[in-house]
């Protein structure tokens, strides 16, 4: 355990500092009464299951555990704790604070005294091996859930491309790399309105609606294309999706590697 930090349970006087940390970490906490609802109004709220990391008297990290029952089998319900809102102040990341926050209630018996058999959480798959598993023995849970999504407009995507554009404009290396990748890609996706991504030497932007003379036309489903848009899909997956017809390039197939390169650069820009 890193001795610079003190780990302890939540006390009433921590409320304002904790709320501020959550607001700064998760934009959703800036909205109406989320803190009050999620914590204080939760019928199973236990202050002893809100774990805080403190340094020099300042709250720099938190992890909240929601006590609940989970159905494991059709005739078996067990007591579990849902790990939520794990937050560490940006200045204190990389010092093992998150790991200690996850371990604290396990090591100090907070779960045991409440008869909790399992803890679970929702997270990012890429963090599974390097964070969740070594920190607290998390393993992927079986899941037969599908998410269905329909976009009414491209506002969320537009915001993303505005951020990419700002990053490109302030980074000479990115600008240089994007120079050879100039093109207009039109997307016709299930679950979303038609839109196009324009890559120009010093500018990247997204337009909602039909593009006039696109270099590339991509058809497919929104989730797969989201992976393309975030640059997280590998060449192999892209080729596989293309071969199985989930992802169609109606025009400009020869640009496929250029597209992947461009979206990888976008991903780097957002980091």
């Amino acid at each position: 355990m890193n001795l610079q930090y003190l780990y302890r349970k939540f006390r009433d006087e921590d409320e304002a500092a904790l709320e501020e940390l959550l607001r700064n970490t998760f934009p959703s906490f800036k909205e109406n009464n989320l803190w009050l609802w999620k914590y204080k109004l939760n019928p199973s709220f236990k202050s002893s299951l809100v774990i805080l990391a403190e340094k020099d008297g300042e709250i720099v990290g938190c992890n909240y555990w929601m006590l609940r029952e989970l159905k494991l089998l059709s005739n078996l319900h067990v007591k579990v704790a849902l790990g939520a809102d794990i937050a560490v102040h940006p200045k204190h990341r990389g010092f093992g604070v998150g790991t200690e926050l996850m371990r604290y209630p396990r090591i100090y018996g907070a779960f045991k005294e409440k008869g909790v058999l399992l803890s679970y959480m929702f997270g990012r798959p890429e963090l599974s091996k390097k964070f969740y598993e070594p920190a607290a023995g998390y393993t992927v849970a079986p899941n037969c859930t599908l998410t269905y999504k329909k976009l009414f407009n491209c506002n969320q995507l537009k915001d993303r491309f505005q951020k990419i554009d700002q990053a490109v404009k302030s980074n000479e290396e990115l600008k240089r790399k994007l120079k050879d990748l100039a093109m207009c890609i039109s997307f016709k996706l299930k679950g979303a309105p038609e839109f196009s991504v324009h890559i120009e030497p010093e500018m990247v932007y997204l337009n909602e609606g039909k593009a006039e003379k696109p270099d590339v036309i991509i058809e497919g489903s929104l989730p797969l294309s989201s992976l393309v848009l975030t640059g997280t899909v590998g060449t192999g997956d892209l080729v596989k999706a293309w071969l199985t017809g989930k992802f169609k390039i109606k025009k400009g197939l020869r640009h496929i590697f250029k597209i992947r390169k461009a979206f990888k650069l976008f991903q780097a820009a957002l980091k």
């Binding site: 609802w37 494991l72 396990r106 058999l117 899941n143 269905y148």
Partner: protein, 265 residues
């Protein structure tokens, strides 16, 4: 209040609907797991009182005096819960609920509508396809076992596992985190399942494995036969292979898991 030819009519939520909604949810998801069993208190917290949800964002479909379907839509466009009576005309109910959800979310200026459903729910899938929704895997869920002996026993008890003669399986687990015990036994007998935490010189079948392998076996991420063949699971005496395999199979959680959005937080 809007009716239709099938005798269903729709209205927004009214105080007092909670217990019918909760019993519909629990009965329709009877054969699934992975979610929080609904109680009125929990449902009020996770749906009705959620800051994103307004009472006007909950539509119920009624047939006679019975609630046969409902949807809880947030101002964000998130569909926190959708449930319908599968014995009725499910397609008509789901189509009505989802069309209403789309109109409601659009009227509030949401950018999208997002919902979770069980992968085997063909009715929701069909309606979503017709309404031009895209499909994606849901948020990945991760589990960590805190009390393995108690969990093992709970599963075996739920599966009503017993044995005519006393049979003991003793686990020696490697790479256990400090909060888990690395050695314990399970006794199966006429009277059911008992955990043994103190080693003794009784006759037993010993199972040696990694804690992560056992958890993966329990949650279906690892195949029992393959784990034995790959020596990820070793046991003694070897002639007990059939009973070890059967025992490990019984530990598996094989009910399909479905996570409604309202449970995610």
């Amino acid at each position: 209040m809007i009716g239709n030819s099938s005798g269903n009519y729709a209205r927004t939520f009214l105080p007092g609907d909670e217990s019918s909604i909760v019993s519909l949810f629990n009965s329709q998801n009877e054969n699934l797991a992975g979610f929080v069993p609904r109680t009125v208190d929990y449902w009020r917290w996770c749906c009705l009182n959620r800051p994103d949800v307004d009472e006007k964002g909950i539509l119920v479909i009624i047939n006679g005096k019975e609630i046969v379907g409902y949807v809880v839509v947030g101002k964000s466009g998130d569909v926190w819960e959708l449930c319908y009576d599968q014995r009725r005309d499910g397609k008509a109910i789901v189509a009505r609920l989802l069309n209403w959800a789309l109109d409601y979310a659009k009227s509030l200026g949401s950018d999208s509508v997002v919902l979770n459903a069980y992968v085997g729910d063909r009715v929701v899938r069909k309606v979503c396809q017709e309404l031009d929704f895209a499909e994606a895997p849901s948020e990945p869920m991760f589990l960590s076992v805190l009390d393995l002996p108690e969990l093992v026993c709970s599963i075996l008890r739920a599966k009503k596992l017993s044995s005519d003669s006393d049979e003991i399986f003793w686990f020696n687990l490697k790479n256990c985190p400090p909060w888990c015990i690395d050695s314990f036994g399970v006794k199966l007998g006429e009277n059911g399942v008992v955990v043994i935490k103190e080693p003794a010189s009784f006759s037993k079948t010993t199972i040696d494995t990694e804690m992560s392998t056992l958890v993966a076996l329990m949650f279906g991420n690892e195949n029992v036969k393959k784990a034995i063949l790959a020596s990820k699971v070793r046991f003694h005496p070897f002639w007990k292979i059939i009973s070890v395999e059967k025992f490990l199979h019984r530990l598996q959680i094989n009910t399909p898991w479905f996570v409604p959005k309202a449970d995610i937080g």
